[in-house]
């Protein structure tokens, strides 16, 4: 799929179809994560007790009038399944495109790995329904964001930029320091660990000790502080040191997302556990939390989805940073 434009731009390997599928996969997985979050918020995971069928129907043939206009939890769970199936189909398309159109052997196997992961994630979701097992739900909830981050990274791996990372950079700063690449990769790992901690707090059960919960909350808060410092350091590094805009842009986005996430985290605490110090705010001092209320659900799900977005942004920034650095080291940039 090397058209004349690609040839002109020095990236004959670029395939619009492969890249489109990778980006499409990322675009589909993000709402899938939102809906998945709603499944947990509304405890809708067991709204459909069978899997892969839906109340005995083939899930694609299940009448739309039943689930679209039926109980909310049924709609949430069934749309989660349909979106998941769509992402699975796109992942299959990506494998086919990779094997037909991409010349990089490692990328072909990357695409296969991605497909296997989405299949595993689907099976985990099914097992969660069949066994109604909270540990499986937690793993399912943590694999989803990892897949999202990998899908977003695949978008970079298949982009025109990947094949010509220094295009148009002549005369500008062309160096990404190793430190920047390490910091953003560290942020990716840390943000994912933070997400796992968050999953622990979200899937809390009555038999956890209050010491464990307190430890988890404190760890989550400490990690949030660490992440905030990390993104600020990364922002300063990419802002003041010679770098490339394609990395800086993502790091700045990461900064904004982490700040937003901290605000959402505080709001999540309030809508779950009330204001810790009632004298702080008169309105919130009189606020009665409503289980599964609209605002409450929106806040909690947004916090969860933003966590996934942070991991994805950090993954994209990391891949870009390391790629550029590798290309520079190979001497492909003057």
């Amino acid at each position: 799929m090397s058209d004349s434009r690609n040839e002109e731009q020095g990236c004959p390997q670029f395939s619009k179809l492969t890249h489109g599928l990778a980006v499409g996969l990322t675009v589909v997985v993000f709402p899938l994560i939102w809906v998945g979050g709603l499944v947990t918020t509304y405890d809708a995971g067991m709204a459909v007790p069978d899997w892969p069928t839906t109340y005995g129907w083939n899930m694609f043939a299940y009448p739309a009038s039943t689930w679209l206009f039926g109980p909310f939890d049924l709609m949430v769970e069934h749309s989660h399944r349909l979106l998941a199936s769509l992402s699975g189909m796109i992942a299959i398309g990506l494998v086919v495109a990779a094997w037909k159109l991409d010349r990089r052997p490692w990328f072909r196997w990357w695409a296969v790995g991605l497909l296997l992961l989405v299949i595993a994630q689907g099976v985990l979701g099914g097992v969660r329904v069949l066994l109604d097992e909270r540990l499986v739900a937690k793993i399912h909830g943590c694999v989803g964001p990892a897949f999202f981050a990998l899908a977003a990274a695949t978008g970079v791996l298949t982009s025109r930029w990947w094949f010509a990372p220094a295009a148009g950079m002549e005369g500008a700063g062309r160096r990404v320091g190793k430190a920047v690449a390490i910091v953003v990769s560290g942020l990716c790992a840390l943000s994912y660990l933070q997400l796992v901690l968050g999953a622990q707090l979200r899937h809390i059960t009555g038999w956890m000790s209050h010491r464990s919960f307190r430890g988890l909350v404190h760890a989550h808060l400490a990690m949030a502080g660490l992440l905030l410092m990390g993104v600020l350091v990364a922002a300063i590094m990419v802002w003041w040191k010679p770098t490339i805009p394609r990395v800086r842009r993502w790091v700045m986005g990461l900064c904004l997302l982490v700040v937003l996430q901290i605000v959402l985290g505080c709001a999540t605490w309030v809508v779950n556990y009330a204001l810790p110090w009632s004298e702080l705010n008169k309105t919130l001092a009189g606020y009665t939390i409503q289980a599964k209320g609209f605002v409450e659900s929106l806040v909690v799900t947004a916090h969860m989805a933003t966590g996934s977005l942070i991991v994805a942004f950090a993954a994209v920034a990391s891949v870009r940073a390391w790629r550029f650095r590798w290309v520079v080291k190979q001497g492909r940039v003057q």
Binding site: S185, L190, G286
Partner: protein, 422 residues
């Protein structure tokens, strides 16, 4: 690095799930009380704990398979107290159809045992209620009496503003009724546990005395019968208190709506209009509030900002500190008890009326009840004033509300004072 993070993530996921949800869930013994009784009686409570927990299991079953003591099912007087159908719906694992209401909605804060020490408890303010003390704040009965089922129903149905006590619209009336029964069940179980531990502390185990020895059933049925009767007497005592609650309800006298408006907003509007009836009532309320007789200002402060005497504790804190001669201020002396599960004590914060938040309800009737009957387990006593004068106090405390959005620090009570000056 990502792989390390992934591996650590998996370890984290698995690590905190120490007790599988499918494993048998147990009630947690009252370690704190047992420790204190042991200290007082200067003997090990190990054997006592084994016997007490064994007797409790015989009486009340387990969180998965609850029982209602036979001595209560045999007597018609207790027939309406708790239904087995409700206990089954509220107990057990939520993954089983028609079960697990308590574990799904309540245990995360109140704990499986209802000891107010669920996973989230230590970080909440106020702490979740420990049902085992048998005390409940918001009720229609006087201090010293149990709440009615309606009182508990109302609290579960509406939630409590400014706290983690959440309102759960998905609960049906049947669900709430099941939870009410389960709360009573946990409360009675917890109180019987305390009574039995206290009784065990009076025995001398070194001399072969025993509170509950099932092996006696075979070897000495008469002695066993005697032990069991004592245990059942404690159950009956607690159940009696709950049954009597309905007869102890204090009906709030009807109010004159012209003097006591339905809502704070209506009250504020009438103050703004200079309604002389309302202003006079508020002034009478203010005088009472500041008087020695009602002593409201002692804790709530002269201006009702909750800044009076603020160095007191509630009964849930005093129960394991002052009652056993520990100074709540002395943190070091509490370490052995905190290690056994007690939550660090916190001082009680008297209500700041400027916030306009009333946890037991904002209706005039609810406020009347709080003032008239006091708030169980807290330093808030029943007001020693004429019942009719309480409506004036209700008006006064509502008039202290300072709406935040108004962007002014002038409370309606200031307006009342201004009107009085005119």
């Amino acid at each position: 690095m990502a792989w390390i993070a992934g591996a650590a993530g998996v370890a984290l996921l698995a690590g905190c799930e120490r007790t599988a949800p499918t494993a048998a869930v147990q009630f947690e013994p009252n370690w704190v009380y047992a420790y204190q009784i042991g200290q007082r009686s200067e003997q090990s409570m190990d054997q006592a704990l084994v016997e007490v927990e064994s007797a409790l299991e015989e009486l009340f079953g387990t969180p998965d398979v609850p029982k209602w003591p036979a001595v209560l099912t045999e007597d018609e007087e207790y027939a309406d107290l708790v239904s087995m159908e409700h206990l089954m719906a509220a107990s057990g694992n939520p993954s089983e159809p028609g079960r697990g209401l308590f574990r799904k909605h309540c245990a995360v804060c109140h704990g499986i045992t209802g000891n107010g020490r669920g996973p989230t408890a230590a970080l909440l303010n106020p702490y979740p209620r420990d049902f085992r003390l048998g005390k409940f704040k918001f009720k229609s009965t006087p201090i010293g009496s149990k709440p009615t089922k309606d009182d508990l129903f109302h609290t579960i149905q509406t939630g409590i503003p400014g706290t983690t006590m959440v309102k759960i619209p998905e609960l049906t009336e049947q669900d709430i009724a099941a939870l009410v029964d389960y709360v009573i069940y946990l409360s009675i179980r917890g109180q019987v546990e305390r009574s039995l531990l206290f009784e065990a502390g009076e025995l001398v185990y070194a001399d072969g005395e025993s509170l509950y020895d099932p092996s006696l059933k075979e070897t000495d049925p008469e002695a066993f019968e005697e032990q069991w009767e004592i245990i059942e007497d404690y159950v009956l005592d607690e159940a009696d208190a709950w049954v009597e609650a309905e007869d102890r309800v204090k009906e709030v006298p009807e109010r004159d709506r012209a003097v006591v408006p339905d809502t704070t907003e209506e009250l504020l509007a009438r103050i703004a209009q200079g309604d002389s009836t309302i202003l006079a009532s508020i002034e009478r309320g203010r005088e009472l509030f500041l008087s020695e007789k009602a002593s409201c200002s002692k804790c709530h402060g002269k201006e009702g900002r909750g800044d009076g005497q603020t160095n007191d504790y509630d009964d849930w804190a005093k129960e394991w500190t002052k009652k056993f001669g520990l100074d709540p201020e002395d943190e070091a002396s509490q370490i052995p008890l905190i290690a056994r599960g007690a939550l660090p004590v916190r001082k009680v914060a008297p209500r700041n009326f400027e916030e306009g938040v009333f946890r037991g309800g904002s209706t005039p009737e609810a406020l009347y009840q709080r003032i008239w009957l006091g708030i169980e387990g807290t330093p808030m006593p029943a007001a020693a004033v004429d019942p009719q004068d309480i409506w004036d106090l209700v008006n006064y405390v509502r008039s202290l509300y300072k709406p935040q959005a108004a962007g002014t620090n002038t409370s309606t009570s200031d307006q009342v004072a201004a009107n009085a000056r005119r």
